[in-house]
Amino acid sequence: MTTATASEHPEPATLWDQQFTVDGDSSLAIAIGDLSLCTRLQPMEWQLFYLWEKRGIEGNFLCRSQPLPGGGELPNDRIAMDRITPQLRLLPRLADRPVVVRPYAPLTLAANCHLTLYVSTPVWLQMELSGRVLRELPVQQLSDTWMGNLTGEGQLCYGSQTHARLDRSQLLNLPYRVLTPVRIHNKSHQERRLERLSLPTPYLSVFASSQSLTTEALKITMDAEKAQGVVKIGRPPDNAQLLSAPRLSADKGILVSAWSNLFA
């Protein structure tokens, strides 16, 4: 018997924090964002079938039981283990590299201003198979990008685009994207154009609030004179449940980076 839940618009916490039991009679199909995933339990092994199709904001988070896939389709991944149990747990993780977001339209920050941008990034679906083996797949595939002035000095990141909304009520609250509030302080006496922003996703946790998945707020101070940015990772959001811990830990929650590695 397969226990699976098909959900329309439940709270993120109930959607994510659940365990499935998959047995040999059927398979569990998961459609989340652009990812279509089918997990199948076989004697001594798990089989994963997956593909990505661009669905934009039409993608949802649906889990349902379905008959075993027919034909001779080969799985994308097989995980063999000696002691196998039919439990499958899904967790949202953030990207394993920083995500560089570029506003669709150029955004200029006035001099000496504080404001909050809302930026969302896709989750990496983490599967815990039989409580032992972890596999991760991005729900939306991001292209690679380079963050740094020179092609020899910088960092390999994921690239994405954002509306960089300033009004939280305009957000779509998609169940497969994680919202990061970014409080930016432009210390400069001149206006600054924000062409891109590097989000340090490996240092952020994922929480489930009543509306959406969210991370700690980031406080970014743009110090153009010193050509550096200081990123402070804020406190966990109130009334939110921790779903996954950060991949890396920042020293006292503070990251200092060269200007070129954060903004341009």
Binding site: S143, W146, L156, G159
Partner: protein
Amino acid sequence: MNETVAESTLHTFSLATGIKAALLMLAGLLLANLARRLFIRASSSRFSAHTQAMYSRIIYYALLCLFAITTIDQLGFDVSVLLGAAGILTVAIGFASQTSASNLISGLFLLGEKPFQIGDILRVGSDTGEVISIDLLSVKLRTFDNLFVRIPNEALIKTTVINLTRFPIRRIDLAIGVAYKEDLKRVRQLLLDMASDELRVLEEPQPYCIVTNFGPSSVDLQLSVWTRRELYRDVKSDLMMQVKSLFDSHGVEIPFPHLTLYSGSQTAPFPLAVASGEPPSTGGEAPAS
């Protein structure tokens, strides 16, 4: 009688010290080897393979040298005299083995300068391969067709060495020719859209497409994109296949080289005439003289 006793004592003394010296040298060898292995085990997470190899060799030879000097001292030789003699010997050997000495010194420079490390991919002359060892006299490469290449350090110092894996990203330049009749702006946009749809192509630095030449048969374009260095070959091959499919589906002609003969506007066209009757014979027997 006295002479016989003295000879016997000398003989006993030499044998005992000889055994002691041999044991000391053996202990030195074992200890140097042990110290090297311990260092490699302890430092595997802190140093790169290159640095580890360099320091482990220094430790090994330093310990060996120390034990060799102690052994010589144990044998009753004056070390300072020996070192003086060794200096003269070194000069003599140096003259005799200039190439080895040059390689040795070049090796020390290479170890200090670190233009590459073990595991890097190098292109030296016509050889391209992975560095498997950096030694005092030579660097060893394993080529992609699994050949072992030994390059003397002196040659590496003198020649141009290209390290293909120094930086994490690389640029792919695709030379693409299209027919003169094509709309170049449209072709350029098609190529850039194709590049931006490919996830392995970096968003930044941005892909670009330029016209490089009006060739004899085609207008030559260059599409330049960046990708992760480990994906370089696959992405380049896939992009070339995508360009072919893209041009086929959008009716963009990739021209074959062709030659147009033109006699100029001031001259009459090439005379062409249709010959009547049987075609002239192209073979056959030579006329009899």
